[in-house]
């Protein structure tokens, strides 16, 4: 069992992430920095960079082709959702949402390692620590934030594509988009995530309009 350390709230408002997918180059520096900071073995990744691709070539009917090919990368960790299914389904209440900053954490003093949170989260955030047999996940680098530092993924991104802060401020500045190709429907868990979409990320939405 790993020792669980409690921290006082680091904000009195719900925290969230802003991901500038239009700027992300897919270098995975955020993923590697997160693994390094949390000492994660091969396979366990609290922040993950996904490549999303789609579209194709469509004949114009006049001998030409029109394409809507897209490919982009998306850096995703736990979104510390406002309506987290992982906390609702956890039988032990180990997976909990903190008052104030709204960070979702695993209390390893209670976690039984059943893995139900991993089957519940549509973002794939909770992952089994095979060494301790308990679940683990992004804790928003709460230890760093408690000392006034920023999360390691935010500090590492060479393109400044990851920002964090009170979600109200992020939404006021960057908009409210959190539904892009590749991500689950945001109504499922109400993620505290704002995405600036890469070209093609909203392909299906645009086609419907």
């Amino acid at each position: 069992m790993s020792t669980f350390q409690e921290f006082p709230p680091v904000s009195d408002r719900q925290l969230g992430f802003f991901i500038d997918s239009s700027r992300c180059s897919g270098c995975k520096a955020c993923q590697v920095a997160c693994k390094d900071k949390n000492n994660l073995e091969v396979g366990r990744r609290f922040r993950r960079v996904y490549e999303v691709q789609g579209g194709g070539f469509i004949p114009t009917g006049n001998g030409g082709l029109r394409n809507n090919v897209f490919a982009y990368t998306l850096s995703i960790s736990c979104n510390h959702c406002s309506d987290p299914v992982c906390t609702k389904n956890c039988p032990t209440t180990a997976m909990h949402k903190r008052p104030g900053d709204g960070i979702v954490r695993v209390n390893t003093d209670k976690c039984v390692g059943c893995g139900y949170c991993a089957w519940s989260c549509p973002y794939g955030a909770p992952q089994l620590n095979t060494e301790t047999g308990q679940m683990s996940k992004c804790d928003f680098c709460i230890d760093l934030q408690a000392n006034g530092d920023v999360p390691v993924c935010v500090a590492t991104c060479p393109l400044g594509a990851i920002k964090f802060g009170p979600i109200e401020e992020l939404r006021a500045r960057y908009g409210t988009l959190s539904d892009v190709n590749g991500l689950p429907d945001s109504t499922l868990t109400r993620p505290n995530l704002v995405v600036k979409a890469h070209q093609g990320a909203q392909q299906e939405v645009n086609n419907d309009e």
Binding site: K88, N89, C90, A118, S120, T130, G182
Partner: protein
């Protein structure tokens, strides 16, 4: 597939619930023709096997846990977690059928009412089991199909195991036929429910959007397991056909059912349910 503990747990507990239900029904039927002592002797194997299967299932479920020392915390979230509810009801079910067995052994009498109570709690427990998977993010589980599969195990495997333990002396041949007919109806009802729910299930899967963020591809696994699922359905059909054959010649005259035939039908049902459950838990 690395969910063997859950495969064993779900199959055994669901089978045990089906055994308790047919044990209660058989107990009421037996009481009409047999003495209390004969009734006890007839029901004894079932009353022992049902709690043993449930206990083995619960022990297997502990193998699924990464850190079982915190297991006592798992009842803290009954208000919102289907898993907490399931653990609570499974423990209650085991307690009731265990008590029924203990009382029966101490008093040499059968207690069909306790088996019925246990069976009803067990049915609620199987509902909670289905709730666990329906309320997950695994698209192949998030459908009524899961509940049909789980209750199907109760009414196929559970009832067949119950019939295997009950169809022996001093149970009369006509009652054996009635018990086997009950299990046959359970298998037919399960197959019919499966066929009814499948079109909606396939439509649901076709409409589902799979996020890139999930660490598994449940739909690909579902498609990959098609041969296994078809083989399981064929095995259930074979068991149904065999039971019809076993019952058909006895339609007009009461003859003793061949026990080997009932055993083969039970093995076919067991293989069908195990194959179907293996496909259910395959996510990669």
């Amino acid at each position: 597939m690395n969910e063997w503990p859950l495969l064993i747990f779900t199959l055994l507990v669901q089978a045990s619930v089906g055994m308790a239900l047919i044990g209660a029904l058989g107990g009421y039927w037996l009481r009409r023709t047999l003495t209390a002592e004969q009734c006890f002797l007839a029901l004894r194997p079932l009353m022992l096997l049902a709690p043993i299967l449930a206990a083995i299932g619960l022990l297997a479920s502990v193998m699924h846990l990464g850190y079982p020392l915190n297991a006592f915390h798992a009842l803290r979230h009954v208000a919102s977690s289907w898993l907490s509810r399931e653990i609570l009801l499974a423990s209650l079910y085991l307690g009731i059928v265990g008590l029924a067995a203990l009382l029966a052994l101490l008093t040499r009498r059968a207690y069909p009412s306790l088996l019925l109570l246990g069976g009803l709690v067990g049915l609620a427990d199987v509902g909670c089991m289905a709730g666990i998977y329906i309320n997950s993010a695994v698209v192949t589980w998030m459908h009524l199909n899961t509940a049909v599969a789980f209750y199907g195990t109760v009414f196929t495997l559970g009832m067949m195991l119950g019939v295997v333990t009950l169809c022996r002396r001093p149970v009369s041949p006509p009652l054996m036929q009635r018990l086997l007919l009950t299990a046959l109806l359970g298998c037919i009802a399960t197959a019919a429910a499966h066929w009814l729910v499948t079109p909606g299930y396939l439509h649901f899967l076709a409409q589902a959007v799979q996020p890139v963020t999930l660490p598994f591809d449940a739909v690909a696994a579902f498609l990959h397991s098609a041969p296994l699922r078809m083989a399981s359905a064929a095995l259930l059909m074979a068991a149904i056909a065999l039971m019809v054959l076993l019952l058909y010649p006895t339609h007009q005259r009461a003859t003793v059912l061949p026990r080997s035939g009932i055993m083969v039908a039970a093995v076919l049902v067991l293989l069908a349910q195990a194959g179907s459950r293996y496909a259910f838990f395959t996510l990669h």
